[in-house]
């Protein structure tokens, strides 16, 4: 049997109902659970570490290594939490996975829990994802019925419970420590690290938070092995990931592709390039909290390091395309307004710096701005820089702003003198 090269989406067929437990199992599902039970937990962590799998939640940190910081079990509860909050503007990959193949996530969670010796696994799901909620609830029920969840899974000594938590709409809940607070029923302010969640997370107990897509990679790695996984990538990268395009392209969407694929392949081959009559002006490479890249960056492979060298972040690797008929200032205003509203209110630069920035962008858009406002906006980017704030929300918010001020400086100045020319026609 040839192994799949689309481990994340092989079961997905838009328009058909997701596989139920039996169908999923028949398609080769749940093999990783039995296999994982034969491993020593630390070896399983090592296996995932060796696969080179990096977190798909945005930061890209080696997943197995992140796991390995969890202390040895002490008899008390330990948690795996899947981050399914997906609220990053322009990001729509976890939704696809959960709506269309919920068992893949559940299998990944069970297998990861075996490695972590977790006693309870939560899915922290964005409240608006109703279809995903129904699919996951059904799949969890089936998994319990089939004995892959609950007491003594598959006759082993390992037991695991799983529950779905639906959130109530706050972008900050995606930040893993804020997510933990939200799951505890508290206000979702982030927590200071250290202590890291692995040591003191949910209810002060060892906890791992991973992205949906990250966890969906686990079954394949454990079932098919490290070498197979490594072979899936190109340009020196391992595995596959889901990338996508939104904006005025011919075929917006998202697709599983080898890690290391270039932006151009994604943009031209998968998304079919720009719609007729539109030119590519710039793009946000991985969500609303990444710096703009320009058309000359299209040939970069989608690798965190390469994207960083170009002055941005790969983030969620779902790109948003800014066309020549859309106002970049307005686009940035839209993003900053979002971030200002989603600020949790904990730390000063974010809570008070973003609304001020928003105010100046409104003025510019209305033709009421000044050159001084542009200067202050630049200052604001430094003010909200990494390290200055409590979590990465505000620095993320500053990214499109700072790169926008760099690439579209003339258009900002034009706004001072003439207001927004795009609105005028």
């Amino acid at each position: 049997m040839t192994l799949t090269n689309k481990p994340l989406t092989k079961n997905i067929e838009i328009g058909r109902a997701p596989f139920n437990f039996a169908q999923y199992q028949a398609a080769g599902g749940y093999q990783s659970v039995a296999r994982a039970l034969t491993y020593k937990p630390r070896d399983l962590m090592k296996l995932v570490q060796d696969s080179g799998l990096g977190g798909r939640g945005g930061a890209g940190f080696n997943t197995g290594l992140k796991w390995s910081f969890i202390p040895e079990p002490d008899g008390g509860p330990r948690y795996l939490v899947v981050n399914a909050d997906e609220m990053e503007p322009g990001t729509f990959k976890d939704r696809l996975l959960m709506e269309h193949d919920p068992h893949l996530l559940i299998e990944g969670m069970i297998t990861a829990s075996i490695a972590l010796q977790a006693t309870m696994a939560y899915i922290f799901l964005r409240g608006e994802y109703k279809e995903a909620e129904h699919a996951l609830l059904q799949a969890i029920k089936e998994a319990y019925a089939a004995g892959v969840l609950g007491k003594n899974i598959q006759g082993s000594t390992f037991s695991l419970d799983m529950a779905l938590h639906t959130s109530a709409g706050r972008y900050i809940c995606g930040e893993e420590t804020a997510l933990i607070n939200a799951l505890e029923g508290k206000r979702a302010n982030p927590r200071f690290k250290p202590p890291f969640p692995q040591v003191s997370g949910l209810w002060g107990r060892p906890t791992l938070v991973n992205n949906v897509e990250t966890i969906c990679n686990i079954p394949g790695i454990v079932t098919n092995g490290v070498e197979w996984f490594k072979g899936l990538g190109i340009n020196g990268q391992f595995g596959t990931r889901i990338s996508g395009v939104s904006g005025r392209v011919k075929k917006p969407g998202c697709w599983e592709m080898p890690v290391g694929t270039t932006f151009r392949t994604l943009f031209e081959d998968y998304a079919g390039g720009m719609q007729d009559g539109y030119q590519l002006k710039a793009f946000l490479p991985g969500g609303g909290s990444t710096d703009f890249l320009m058309p000359e960056h299209l040939d970069l492979p989608m690798i965190p390091g390469d994207v960083a060298k170009a002055g941005s972040r790969l983030g969620t690797s779902l790109i948003m395309v800014l066309d020549d008929k859309t106002c970049p200032v307005g686009c940035i205003h839209n993003l900053i307004k979002f971030f200002a509203h989603e600020s949790c209110g904990w730390c000063t630069p974010c809570r008070d710096g973003l609304p001020w920035s928003e105010h100046m962008l409104v003025k510019l858009e209305n033709g009421e701005g000044s050159l001084k406002d542009i200067e202050i906006l630049k200052e604001m980017c430094g003010y909200m820089a990494p390290g200055n704030t409590f979590c990465a929300l505000a620095p993320g918010a500053a990214e499109p702003l700072q790169s926008g001020l760099k690439y579209f400086h003339d258009e900002f100045v034009e706004h001072v003198n003439h207001g927004c020319k795009y609105k005028q026609h």
Partner: protein, 170 residues
């Protein structure tokens, strides 16, 4: 009970059997009552449409949480409605992908059709319009949710049809 507490102060209402049933189910998932607070508010909202002071107090009393604490949580989350809403809550995505594809026009369209701005409810209590951040359907922008349903690739004409359907189905 005597005087000093103003007579206008809200009092906890009685939770319904369905609400209690659902809250009890959620409690099985968490080791601490506080963790159920937000879930319980959502349950109440599911049945009542919004979270009144009386509902919030009821949840607080049921879970033995200080109402002040619960209010802190309730007012933190965007999707807990602490004011009455219409029968159909329209969540119109106003994030960047939808914005690029013209959600401002859709907003203007809905506003003129229903006579309500963001945060408002129609006089007949049928619709409330609220902006929502990126619904994670950017490849099918512009999008919105009405109730539990997501609508994609919207145009003014499609919105008219959706609103008409909502009205028809009460």
């Amino acid at each position: 009970m005597s005087n000093l507490i103003a007579s206008t102060a809200p009092k906890a209402r009685q939770l319904t059997h369905e609400e209690i049933h659902d809250i009890e189910h959620e409690k099985t998932h968490y080791p601490y009552a506080q963790a159920v607070g937000l879930e319980a508010l959502k349950i109440v909202q599911k049945y009542q449409g919004w979270v009144s002071d009386e509902s919030l107090l009821a949840v607080a009393e049921y879970l033995k949480l200080p109402p002040d604490e619960l209010e802190g949580v309730a007012t933190f989350f965007n999707m807990i409605f602490r004011r009455p809403v219409g029968k159909h809550v329209i969540l119109l995505c106003d994030s960047v992908a939808c914005w690029m594809l013209g959600c401002d026009n859709l907003k203007a369209h809905i506003s003129s059709k229903l006579g309500i701005d963001y945060g408002q409810t129609t006089a007949d209590n049928q619709f409330t319009l609220i902006p929502v951040p990126c619904l994670g359907d950017c490849d099918k922008a512009p999008t919105m949710m009405v109730g539990d349903k997501t609508y994609r690739n919207l145009t003014p004409a499609r919105i008219d049809a959706i609103l008409a359907e909502c009205k028809a189905h009460g």
